[in-house]
C-alpha cells in the first residue's frame, strides 16, 4: 500500500530520531571517501668529489587506490647529470690528449692525473605506469610499463607479476617477469671493438647504433614469522644480450716492458689523440643470479630493516651486499633512521688495466672501474616528521665511498705504484615530501 510522501523519508526520520534521542538537533554529518591520490615526491642531490659526477634529480610517484585493492601507480623521474667520469685510460707522467666521443674535438688531461671525460651533460627522463589487481581473495597480479630516455639511450620495458597468499595470509609466494629492449645511439656511433681512437673528423672506427634485450625473472617468498617479524627471500635471474659495452670507454695500449702508453702523432693539420687507445669490448651476453633475503623486525617501537644480497654472473663477478636500517621514532611525530650499507665485488673476468702492444688481443677487455675489485660503504641518517596537515617530510644525508684495488697480475712496469683504483667519494642528500589529495 503506497502512500503519497508529503515529506521525504529523511525528514520524517530526522524528526523521529530527535524525539527518540531528545538531545536537540545534531551537527550535520561530514563524511566522504578518503583522498584519492597519494603522492611521494623527492629531490635528490648526488655529488662525487674530484670534479666527477653531479646529479640533481626530481622524482614523483602518484598512487591511486581504488575499491577492491586495485592500485594505479605512475612514476616520473627527471635527472640532470653533469661532471666527469673515468674514461678507462691509465695515468701517464705526461699530458694526454683524447678525441671526444663525438669525434669533433679533443680534450687534454694533465700529467699524473686520472683521465676523466666530462662529455656527459645529460638529462634523463623516466616514466613508469603500474596496475595492481587482486584476483579473488588470495591472488594478486600486477603489470606495468617503463621507459626512459637520455640523449643517447632509450629504454622500453614491460613487467608483470603474480602472487598468492597461503597459511591465513602468513606466506606469500610471488613470481615476476620483466622484459626490456634498450637502444644505444651514442654520440658519434658505437665503436668497433678494439678499434683505435682516431683523429678529429675520422669516424671510420665507429659504426651505427646498437641495442640490448634484457629478461629478468624474480621468484620470492614472504613469510610472517611472528607478530613483530617478517622475512622475505628472493631469487632473481637476469639475462642481457646484445650491446653491453660502454661506447665511450677505452683502454690504453701500452709497451709490454715499461707499461707506458704508446705515443702517437695526429695527421698533419689535424687534432687527435696523443697516445694509442683502443675502445673496450665486453661480451654480448651476461647472465646474473641473485639471492636476496630481507627481514623487518619490530623491537619496542623501533623497526630494524636488514637485508643481504648475493650476486654471481658469468662475467665471473661475485658481489655481497649487506644493508641495515633502524627506524627510531621519537616524539609522536618524528623519527631518526640511521643507515649502513656494505658492498663488495670482485673484478670481471675480462677486467684489464691496459692492452699490451704486440700481445694477442683478448676476446674481451674493459678497464671500467665499475667492473673492478672494490668495497663500498654507505653511511647516513634520515630524519622524518609528520606535518600539521598529516603529511610526511623527510631529509636524508649519506656518504658513499668506494675503495678498490687492482690485482697485481694486471699491472705492468711503471703502472705498478702509479696506477690505482679510482676511489670514489660521494654525498647523497635527499628531501622527500609525501602527501595525499
Amino acid at each position: 500500500m503506497q502512500r503519497p510522501n508529503k515529506k521525504s523519508v529523511s525528514a520524517t526520520l530526522a524528526a523521529a530520531t530527535c524525539s527518540l534521542l531528545g538531545s536537540g538537533a545534531p551537527v550535520p554529518v561530514q563524511a566522504e571517501e578518503d583522498a584519492n591520490w597519494d603522492f611521494n615526491t623527492a629531490l635528490l642531490y648526488y655529488s662525487e668529489d674530484n670534479r666527477r659526477v653531479d646529479d640533481y634529480s626530481f622524482n614523483i610517484l602518484a598512487k591511486r587506490n581504488f575499491v577492491d585493492d586495485r592500485v594505479l601507480s605512475m612514476g616520473l623521474a627527471v635527472d640532470t647529470l653533469t661532471g666527469a667520469t673515468p674514461n678507462g685510460a691509465i695515468r701517464q707522467d705526461v699530458p694526454q690528449t683524447f678525441t671526444r666521443p663525438s669525434g669533433s674535438s679533443v680534450y687534454t688531461i694533465q700529467a699524473g692525473e686520472l683521465p676523466l671525460d666530462d662529455t656527459f651533460h645529460d638529462t634523463r627522463v623516466a616514466l613508469s605506469i603500474n596496475w595492481e589487481q587482486p584476483l579473488g581473495r588470495l591472488w594478486n597480479t600486477s603489470a606495468g610499463f617503463s621507459g626512459s630516455k637520455e640523449f643517447d639511450y632509450l629504454h622500453l620495458g614491460i613487467n608483470a607479476s603474480i602472487s598468492r597468499d597461503f597459511n591465513r595470509r602468513n606466506t606469500t609466494v610471488s613470481a615476476g617477469l620483466a622484459l626490456a629492449r634498450d637502444s644505444w645511439e651514442p654520440e658519434g656511433g658505437t665503436p668497433i671493438p678494439f678499434a683505435p681512437m682516431l683523429d678529429v673528423g675520422d669516424v671510420s672506427n665507429k659504426v651505427g647504433d646498437d641495442e640490448k634485450d634484457v629478461v629478468d625473472i624474480v621468484l620470492g617468498v614472504t613469510q610472517v614469522i611472528s607478530r613483530r617479524m617478517l622475512v622475505q627471500l628472493n631469487y632473481s635471474f637476469s639475462d642481457s644480450s646484445g650491446y653491453l659495452t660502454d661506447p665511450y670507454k677505452f683502454l690504453s695500449l701500452v709497451d709490454g716492458a715499461t707499461g707506458d702508453t704508446l705515443t702517437r702523432t695526429p695527421a698533419p693539420g689535424a687534432e687527435g689523440p696523443s697516445h694509442e687507445f683502443r675502445f673496450e669490448n665486453r661480451p654480448r651476453e651476461r647472465t646474473k643470479h641473485s639471492l636476496y633475503g630481507q627481514t623487518k623486525y619490530y623491537i619496542d617501537g623501533k623497526v630494524l630493516d636488514a637485508s643481504y644480497r648475493f650476486m654471481t654472473d658469468d662475467w665471473e663477478i661475485d658481489s655481497h651486499t649487506v644493508d641495515l636500517k633502524l627506524r627510531w621514532p621519537f616524539g609522536a611525530n618524528s623519527y631518526l633512521e640511521p643507515h649502513l650499507r656494505f658492498y663488495t665485488q670482485n673484478e670481471a673476468e675480462f677486467y684489464a688495466i691496459s692492452l699490451v702492444d704486440g700481445a694477442a688481443l683478448p676476446a674481451y677487455a674493459s678497464s671500467d672501474y665499475r667492473l673492478g675489485n672494490f668495497d663500498a660503504i654507505t653511511a647516513g641518517v634520515k630524519y622524518g616528521w609528520k606535518t600539521k596537515g598529516g603529511n610526511e617530510m623527510s631529509v636524508r644525508a649519506e656518504i658513499y665511498q668506494q675503495r678498490g684495488s687492482i690485482p697485481s697480475a694486471l699491472l705492468i712496469g711503471n703502472q705498478i705504484g702509479r696506477e690505482t683504483y679510482p676511489d670514489l667519494d660521494a654525498v647523497i642528500v635527499q628531501f622527500s615530501y609525501l602527501f595525499s589529495r
Partner: protein
C-alpha cells in the same frame, strides 16, 4: 660460490621455509604491528628506486628486492 652450490643453497632455503611455513605466522587479529607503514618490506618506493639507480650506475650488481633495475645508459 659456483652454480651447483647456489642451487643447493636455494633448494635448502626453500625447503626450510616451506617446511616451517605451515606452522608459522599470526592470526588475522594479531596483525596490528605488521600493518604499520614502517613494517612494510619497502617503506618508501621512491627512495628505494633512487638508491637502486645510484648503485646500478656505480656498481656491477643490481636488483634483488625486485626487478633488475636499470634502463639507463650509465653502466
Amino acid at each position: 660460490m659456483n652454480r651447483v652450490g647456489l642451487r643447493c643453497a636455494l633448494a635448502l632455503a626453500l625447503a626450510i621455509l616451506t617446511g616451517a611455513c605451515s606452522s608459522m605466522g599470526v592470526e588475522p587479529w594479531e596483525r596490528d604491528i605488521l600493518a604499520k607503514d614502517e613494517m612494510q618490506l619497502t617503506t618508501d618506493p621512491v627512495e628505494a628506486g633512487i638508491d637502486d639507480h645510484i648503485y646500478f650506475s656505480k656498481e656491477a650488481s643490481s636488483g634483488g628486492r625486485g626487478f633488475g633495475g636499470g634502463g639507463c645508459g650509465c653502466n
